[in-house]
Symmetry: C2
Subunit: 235 residues, 2 copies
Amino acid sequence: MFHVMCKGSGMIHINMCTMLGFITTDVNITKELLTKALKSAVNDTFNMVSVDGDTSTNDSVIVLANGMAENDLIDKEDENYEKFRYALYKVCKALAKKIAGDGEGATKLFEVMVVNAKSKEDAVTLSKSIVSSNLTKCAIYGNDANWGRVVCAMGYSGVEFDLNKLDVYFESESGKIKIVEKGVATDYSEEEATKILDNKAVSVICDLNEGEGMATAWGCDLTHEYISINADYRS
Amino acid sequence: MFHVMCKGSGMIHINMCTMLGFITTDVNITKELLTKALKSAVNDTFNMVSVDGDTSTNDSVIVLANGMAENDLIDKEDENYEKFRYALYKVCKALAKKIAGDGEGATKLFEVMVVNAKSKEDAVTLSKSIVSSNLTKCAIYGNDANWGRVVCAMGYSGVEFDLNKLDVYFESESGKIKIVEKGVATDYSEEEATKILDNKAVSVICDLNEGEGMATAWGCDLTHEYISINADYRS
């Protein structure tokens, strides 16, 4: 069982920043493996969240375990450790998504999945670049499946990839649509794309078809309300 | 004499991007020195402009010289070359500032001057970090002398500096005000600061008091109108 608390809405960028997370669990585990499980979980979750690209201090995620579950002590990387690690990852992921979706002024959670990149490192760089792009975030706010902005943010990320192999999809509760195939816009329905984007949580999936590197980043849209919160607070 | 044309408003970031500049002059100069003068001028001007951090292709500044001024050919780096180089720099600087101030949705030009850093490289990195900060740009929009956001952007730039030596000023046509002295907020008048910021062109000056490195970057504020331009264009 986990208990969690999390705080943060603005000044959030890759590697947390102005975000606090507290997780407690009653599992019986050694300090070393608890730390290892947390680091593993945080790298793929909290460290992949960007709200506005600005950062500050206070970036911390803390996990505490009191052992009251009275399970056999987890002291090696066996099946039980793996189960715990995965559960902790799921908790961190759920919190990271909440932090992103609750971003200052945000109207929606924006999930960026980069799959089949040459390496995980490439996928991480690409996903961070897309999720941090002001222009892309404005398009998401405007319910526009603006694949040009997505591909553009991939282009200036510095990662080399073959545009002619790239497929791009948008997905939400309302469905999934392929908007780019092998680097070229498909004949997609703009009406359908807008319907898919008009949701509280929207994903873009960039499939590079080059390797097995995967990464997911979470952010939010860039809205009039973000400007109001951060410009008009004195009036 | 120079003739100039320049184009660009959004998707502009350090090293131009989606910006075109054409400069013609009737000076008589060798191709090598013309190129050298342009590169020197561009590095400190067009390459120091950021509108929204997004980038694309088309980033070009072109200079043409037809020799019709019939001056003695400039073929070495003498006094005449230096005069031409400085004139070209002034032209590029004026254009770069126009590009920045005309940024999408901008209500004002935001100039960031970093002085007395340990090196020019440090000053460049610091000024780019401040001018690209969404939060700082929102504060400039809101006429708020939010030195915390400025110093924060310096902090996350990766440059090491001694906060206890840092002075920060805001300046515009309406005056100049010191808001941070040796890393601590001064007892400045918020009313006066707001008056200074409520101008079409606002500068922040960060004096690190550590060396002789200097750099200036130009950008603009981040406004409701930027969001409207980039989110609502389909409605």
